[in-house]
C-alpha cells in the first residue's frame, strides 16, 4: 500500500495499532478525522523547539506562584502548589526527550509520589484546621506573630 503525506507522518509518529485504526476510519469516511488533526499536531510537537516547553512550564509555574500569592483558600493554595510541581514535571519530560535520558522521567514519578504524600499531609492539616476554626481561610490563623 502506498504511504504518502499525512499517512507517512502518522506512521512515523504513532504506533502501528493507532495507524491501522486511523486507516480503517479513513477508508470508511474519506474525511480527515480528529486523529489526523492530532497527528498533524504531533508532527509539530516533534519539530517544536524545546524552548517553547520551557516557556510554557515557566508560565505554568508562575501561574502557580501567583495563585499561591493571591488566594486565601488553603485548598486552592495547595492546588496552585501542585500546578507548580506539574510545571516542573512537564519541563522534566521535555528535557528527558531532549537528552534521550530516561532518568528525568524517573524523577517525575518520584515527584508525583512525594507530591501525593505531601498533599495527603496537607489535606490532613487543613482538615485539622477546619475542625478548629470552621474555615479554611489561611488568614484566620494569625495567633502567632511578632
Amino acid at each position: 500500500m502506498q504511504k504518502d503525506g499525512l499517512e507517512a507522518i502518522i506512521m512515523e509518529i504513532c504506533n502501528p495499532i493507532i495507524y491501522h485504526f486511523l486507516r480503517s476510519l479513513k477508508n470508511n469516511s474519506q474525511t480527515i478525522t480528529i486523529f489526523e488533526l492530532q497527528a498533524l499536531f504531533l508532527r509539530h510537537f516533534k519539530k517544536m523547539p524545546s524552548q517553547y516547553y520551557l516557556f510554557l512550564s515557566l508560565a505554568l509555574f508562575c501561574i502557580g506562584v501567583m495563585g499561591v500569592l493571591m488566594r486565601r483558600n488553603a485548598i486552592i493554595i495547595l492546588m496552585c502548589i501542585e500546578l507548580m510541581l506539574n510545571a516542573v514535571n512537564l519541563l522534566l519530560v521535555t528535557f528527558s526527550k531532549m537528552y534521550n535520558d530516561p532518568n528525568a522521567q524517573l524523577f517525575v514519578f518520584f515527584i508525583m509520589v512525594v507530591a501525593a504524600a505531601e498533599v495527603s499531609i496537607g489535606l490532613a492539616i487543613i482538615v485539622m484546621m477546619y475542625r478548629k476554626v470552621h474555615s479554611i481561610d489561611v488568614h484566620i490563623l494569625n495567633r502567632l506573630k511578632n
Binding site: V65, L69, V138, H139, N142, R143, L144, K145, N146
Partner: protein, 638 residues
C-alpha cells in the same frame, strides 16, 4: 642529663604548689620544703654544668655549645608555631647555678628571718614561684618563653614588695614597681612583634641564623634592639625607669637580696647578653646602652652617698652596679657583664643579707643614724659586711675588683671616647667605695645611738653570710686576667655563645700588660681614696649633721620622682580626665547607648514583618527571591 633540664624549674614549681596550698597548715615546714626544692634544682643545675663543661669538643663546636630540649608545642596554629623549648648552654647554665645557689642560701636565711611573720608559708610559696619564673626566663629557647619568665618574675616581685600589704606605702611601692616594669615590658613586646614580623620565628637560634640577611636593614635591627633595651631598662632599673628599685626595698630583706639585687634585676643583662648577635650589629643601640649605663651608674652613686636608710643605700648601689653591667654590654663586653653579674650577685646578696641581719638585730630599725657601734655586738655580721664592702669597692684580690676592672678595661679601649667614659666610670667607682664605707662606718663604728640591745643573729642567718662572704672573696678567680698569669676561665666557657658576635665585633681588649697594670693601680688607688674620704668623714659620725647644697639635692634623689610626677603623671591625669569627660561620656557612651536604642527601636519595627499572615509571608518570600535575583544579577554581570 641535659635532656632532664626541665627538672630544674620543676622542683620550684612543685615547691610552690605544695607550700602555696599548704600555707596555712605546714607551719615552719614550708620553709624547709621550699629550700629543699631549690637545693634539688641546684644539684641538677650543678650536674648539668659539669656535663656541659666536659662535653666533647666536636659536639660543642657543632652545636655552638648549646643544647635545645624540646618539651611541647606551646603555640601550634596554622600561621604561628612556637615551641616550648629550653636552651641549655654556657650562659644559661651559669645563670642556673647563680639563681639556684644564691636562691638556696637566701631561702635558708629566710627561714630564720621570717620566722615570726604570720605570712611565713605564703612568703616561701612566692619565693619558690619567683625562682621558677626566673629559671624559665633563663632557660627559654625563644623570646616568648623568656617573656613568660620575665612577666612571672615581675609578678613575684610585685607580690613580694607588697608582702606586708597592710602598709599602704608598701603596696604603693609594689604598684610603682609593677607599672614601671609594665612600661618596659611594652617595649619588649613591641620588640618581639617587630622581630616576629620579619623573621617568623622567635627562637634564638633561627634569629641568629637569619642575622646575615637581617643585617641589610640596620634601622630595623636598631629598632628591635632598642625596643628590647627599653624592656631591660624596666627590669634592670636603668634610666629612665630606675625609680622603682629603691622603693622596692619595702619588701622583706631576703626578697631585696634575691630579687632586687642578685637575680631578677640582672634579667635585662641576661637578655641582652643572650641577644648578643642582635646588639653586635646595632652600634647605635650599643652606644645608647653605654651612655645610659654610665649615666645610671653616676646618678645612682651620687644619690647613694647621701641616703640614710641602710637598704636604700644598697638599692642605689645596685642601680649603680647595674649601670656598670650595661656599660659593659654597651661596649660589647658580654663576658665582662656576665662576670660582674656573678660577682655582684655574691657580694650584693651578702650585703643585703648583712643589712637584714642588722635590721633584725635592732628590731626593724632601718635608719643608719640610729645605729652605730654595732661592731662589738655582732662580730660575724660585721666581718662579712666588711668583706662585702671591700669586694664592691674593688680592692684586690676580692671578686669585685676583677669584674669591675675587666669592664673598665673594655671601656678604656673602646673607640675614641673610651677614655672619657673610663674617667667618668672611675668617678662612679670612687663614689661606690665612698658610700659603701660611709655605710659601714656609720653602722658599725662609733657608739650605739639606738634604743634596746642589739644582738647577733642566729646561726641560720649567719651561715649564708659566711658562705656568701667566702664566695665574694674567691668569686673573682673564675676570671683572672692574663696579666696575672691566669687564663680567663669564664671567657673560655662563654666563648661558644659569643662566637658569632665576636666574628662581627671583637670584644677582646688590646692593651699592653704594663698599661693594664697601671690602670689597675689607678683603679685601686681611686678606691682607696674613696675609702679614706669615708673614714675621715664618718669615723666619728654625728647624727645631727644636716645636709646642704648639692648633697641635699642628691639626698632627695635629684627630685626625679617629683619630675616624673610633674612631667608625666599630672598631664596624663589631666588628659584622662578630659577623655573621661568628653570622649568617654559624650562620645563612646553616646554611641553605645545610641546603638542600643537604635536596635531597640529597630526591633520594634522589624518585628512588624512577622505579621502572622501566611499569605504575607509567601508574598515576602517571593519578594525575597526577586531581591536576591536582582542583587546577584545586578552585581555580577552574567
Amino acid at each position: 642529663m641535659l635532656n632532664l633540664v626541665w627538672l630544674v624549674p620543676l622542683f620550684p614549681l612543685i615547691g610552690f604548689i605544695i607550700t602555696g596550698l599548704g600555707r596555712n597548715h605546714l607551719g615552719k615546714a614550708s620553709g624547709w620544703i621550699a629550700s629543699l626544692a631549690i637545693l634539688a634544682s641546684f644539684v641538677v643545675s650543678a650536674l648539668i654544668f659539669i656535663e656541659l663543661k666536659t662535653l666533647p669538643e666536636d659536639i660543642a663546636e657543632h652545636t655552638t655549645g648549646s643544647h635545645v630540649v624540646h618539651l611541647f608545642n606551646f603555640i601550634n596554629t596554622h600561621a604561628m608555631q612556637i615551641a616550648f623549648d629550653f636552651q641549655i648552654d654556657a650562659l644559661s647554665s651559669i645563670f642556673l647555678l647563680v639563681i639556684t645557689g644564691i636562691g638556696f642560701l637566701i631561702h635558708i636565711y629566710s627561714i630564720s628571718y621570717m620566722s615570726h611573720d604570720e605570712g611565713f608559708g605564703k612568703f616561701f610559696a612566692y619565693l619558690n614561684l619567683f625562682v621558677f619564673s626566673m629559671l624559665l626566663l633563663v632557660l627559654g629557647a625563644n623570646y616568648l618563653i623568656l617573656f613568660i619568665g620575665w612577666e612571672g618574675v615581675g609578678l613575684c616581685s610585685y607580690l613580694l614588695i607588697g608582702f606586708w600589704y597592710k602598709n599602704i606605702a608598701y603596696t604603693d611601692a609594689a604598684k610603682k614597681a609593677f607599672i614601671m616594669n609594665r612600661i618596659g615590658d611594652l617595649g619588649f613586646l613591641i620588640g618581639m612583634f617587630l622581630l616576629y614580623s620579619k623573621c617568623n620565628a622567635l627562637d634564638f637560634k633561627s634569629i641568629e641564623n637569619m642575622m646575615p640577611t637581617l643585617m641589610n636593614d640596620p634601622s630595623y635591627i636598631t629598632a628591635v634592639a632598642l625596643c628590647f633595651f627599653i624592656g631591660a631598662t624596666g627590669k634592670s632599673a636603668q634610666i629612665p625607669l630606675f625609680t622603682w628599685l629603691p622603693d622596692a626595698m619595702a619588701g622583706p630583706t631576703p626578697v631585696s637580696a634575691l630579687i632586687h639585687a642578685a637575680t631578677m634585676v640582672t634579667a635585662g643583662v641576661y637578655m641582652i647578653a643572650r641577644s648578643n648577635f642582635l646588639y653586635s650589629v646595632a652600634p647605635i643601640a650599643q652606644q645608647v646602652i653605654l651612655i645610659i649605663g654610665l649615666a645610671t651608674a653616676l646618678l645612682a652613686a651620687t644619690i647613694a652617698t647621701q641616703q640614710n636608710d641602710i637598704k636604700k643605700v644598697l638599692a642605689y648601689s645596685t642601680v649603680s652596679q647595674l649601670g656598670f653591667m650595661f656599660m659593659a654590654l654597651g661596649v660589647g663586653a658580654y663576658t665582662a657583664a656576665i662576670f660582674h653579674v656573678i660577682t655582684h650577685a655574691f657580694f650584693k646578696a651578702l650585703l643585703f643579707l648583712g643589712s637584714g641581719s642588722v635590721i633584725h638585730a635592732v628590731d626593724g630599725e632601718q635608719d643608719i643614724r640610729n645605729m652605730g657601734g654595732l661592731k662589738k655586738y655582732m662580730k660575724i655580721t660585721y666581718i662579712t659586711f666588711f668583706i662585702g664592702c671591700i669586694a664592691i669597692a674593688g680592692i684586690p684580690p676580692l671578686s669585685g675588683f676583677f669584674s669591675k676592672d675587666e669592664i673598665m678595661m673594655h671601656i678604656f679601649t673602646h673607640g675614641t671616647n673610651g677614655k672619657i667614659f673610663w674617667i667618668l666610670g672611675m668617678l662612679a667607682a670612687m663614689m661606690t667605695a665612698y658610700y659603701m664605707f660611709r655605710l659601714l662606718f656609720i653602722t658599725f663604728h662609733g657608739t650605739y645611738r639606738g634604743k634596746g640591745h642589739p644582738h647577733e643573729s642566729p646561726a641560720l642567718m649567719t651561715m649564708p653570710l659566711i658562705v656568701l662572704a667566702a664566695l665574694s672573696i674567691v668569686g673573682g678567680f673564675i676570671g683572672i686576667p692574663e696579666v696575672f698569669g691566669g687564663h680567663h676561665a669564664l671567657n673560655a666557657f662563654l666563648e661558644p655563645i659569643l662566637l658569632k658576635s665576636q666574628a662581627l665585633q671583637t670584644s677582646i681588649y688590646e692593651l699592653s700588660h704594663q698599661n693594664e697594670i697601671l690602670l689597675m693601680g689607678v683603679a685601686v688607688f681611686i678606691a682607696c681614696i674613696g675609702i679614706t674620704m669615708a673614714w675621715f668623714g664618718f669615723k666619728k659620725y654625728n647624727a645631727a649633721d644636716t645636709t646642704k647644697g648639692i648633697a641635699k639635692f642628691a639626698e632627695d634623689k635629684w627630685y626625679i620622682d617629683e619630675l616624673y610626677d610633674k612631667v608625666i603623671v599630672k598631664p596624663l591625669f589631666g588628659i584622662s580626665k578630659w577623655i573621661e569627660k568628653i570622649i568617654e561620656k559624650a562620645g563612646i557612651d553616646g554611641i553605645v547607648n545610641g546603638v542600643g536604642r537604635l536596635i531597640q527601636v529597630g526591633s520594634t519595627k522589624i518585628r512588624l514583618l512577622q505579621s502572622g499572615l501566611v499569605g504575607f509571608y509567601l508574598f515576602m518570600f517571593v519578594l525575597g527571591i526577586i531581591l536576591l535575583f536582582a542583587l546577584q544579577m545586578w552585581l555580577v554581570k552574567f
